[in-house]
Point group: C3
Chain length 214, copies 3
Amino acid sequence: MGTELVELNELVTIFDYLGTFAFAISGVRLAGAKNFDIFGAYVVGFVTAVGGGTIRDLCLGLTPFWMIQPSYVVITAIALLFVIVFKKHLIHMNNAFFIFDALGLGLFTVVGLEKSLAAGFPFWVNIIMAAITGAAGGMMRDVLINEVPLIFRKDIYAVASVLGGIIYYIAFSLGMADIGCQVLCLVSVVLIRILAVAFGVNLPSLRSEESART
Amino acid sequence: MGTELVELNELVTIFDYLGTFAFAISGVRLAGAKNFDIFGAYVVGFVTAVGGGTIRDLCLGLTPFWMIQPSYVVITAIALLFVIVFKKHLIHMNNAFFIFDALGLGLFTVVGLEKSLAAGFPFWVNIIMAAITGAAGGMMRDVLINEVPLIFRKDIYAVASVLGGIIYYIAFSLGMADIGCQVLCLVSVVLIRILAVAFGVNLPSLRSEESART
Amino acid sequence: MGTELVELNELVTIFDYLGTFAFAISGVRLAGAKNFDIFGAYVVGFVTAVGGGTIRDLCLGLTPFWMIQPSYVVITAIALLFVIVFKKHLIHMNNAFFIFDALGLGLFTVVGLEKSLAAGFPFWVNIIMAAITGAAGGMMRDVLINEVPLIFRKDIYAVASVLGGIIYYIAFSLGMADIGCQVLCLVSVVLIRILAVAFGVNLPSLRSEESART
């Protein structure tokens, strides 16, 4: 347990908390826009923040991370208070929140990769776990507020997470140190997400049939 | 294994069955109102009744409680039959069903607290597990029938469960016996729920922005 | 480990792969009809194909089957490519896809029964696990595309799976060999599903109250 490992763990923890805050804000705001009460908004914020990681941990056979220590419950409460206090000014902060959300996606991707790697799974499972950690919370948020998940229809979102995971493994295969792979992965996800939105890059849609429902 | 413990276990079992019936009725009725067929109504009733406890058990690392003994499958079937036989009279029983539902919420809160406590988790996890046991089934029901979860928008519902959990721990900290804490928690949840509806108490809503979706 | 057991395992594997392809196609097509992008369509296809089995494995305390080997990820990708390449002709293949889907339902029912049986659960749990394996993926698909689950409102679907499970146990109780029970169960589910649609057999609906929501 050298100094480097401790620092690495601390970095992962900071990643985790920042991502939690950014995701909780997005859940609370969208629930508020749908006229949820403050407790409902808290629940949607919490599910947005910890939902992806919970699915990941259950799939990996681990106790959900937020049950081990109360930080995530507290951070979501801070996010709720933040939205209540600044609610009239939030719309002017949309650019800031977009950056927060991109950062959260990058941070959660790294955390998901590391946990799946530590549980002994092969690289392709780790990449899926990274994408679930990054994107499944937003998917659950949209299901709870009764909307078609936005991440499946607009911009590059979960795909940024998958690409970040692949970049991690290329760097890892070339012999880069763990901390280097993590930073590279984080930066890649955030950049891909920001550039995709800045240049209006969308994945092609499948639409072509009138109706596939038989 | 003294007499008291046996009685305590029996009490928890009775709590469990009554709550299952009340929740299954609510799922079956709402599915029926959405034109589900009888099997679909059974599934929605079953998910409403056991969904919260299933999420709790998976988070606690336990086999879902309804897979250990067939009571819950049978009770849901009885609830379906009850709705089919009495369907023309159900609307006149709305007050009775409201009491059933409040009782179910209280009962599930106690059961959730006890199971999480027995699994060795700290008090704040137990309170979350209690609220999940009480309220997540209704949330899953509303997702299945494609409605915005009602419990997030109207009345005091999951919050009654959280307050009941906090009251349990205050009583527990003051040295009250387990059975006393359980009864106090149950009565608190049921009373908070009933009084909130009787006096039209709602949590404040977050609405203020035009649209938070970026 | 005699030859028969090996063949039996191979049969189960083939069942699994064929069902995965059929279910993924249905998820990809419905997501496409809702204007999802190709990654979103992939995710919906994947969830449709592996969602039921994932819930089953988590309930049984097992690692989700698709994390053990990459076949399911690959088969879903093939299904996505198939839909992209043949999209203009898919509507003329609806009868073929209906057969695929019926086959998938039968195959997943058998796989679900076998896994639950191998995990040591009693027959009624095995039948529920079979129905979850066969029908929960389609339910999750409909939740993700924000539709009321079709399987609860139209035709005989999950019920075919339940009836197949019951037929399996009747044959098993009469002393039929495992492989015989499996084939009989598969054929029963597929036939019940096809005959129900051919003759327009639906389960009765529960509708009768104006509104059950209190």
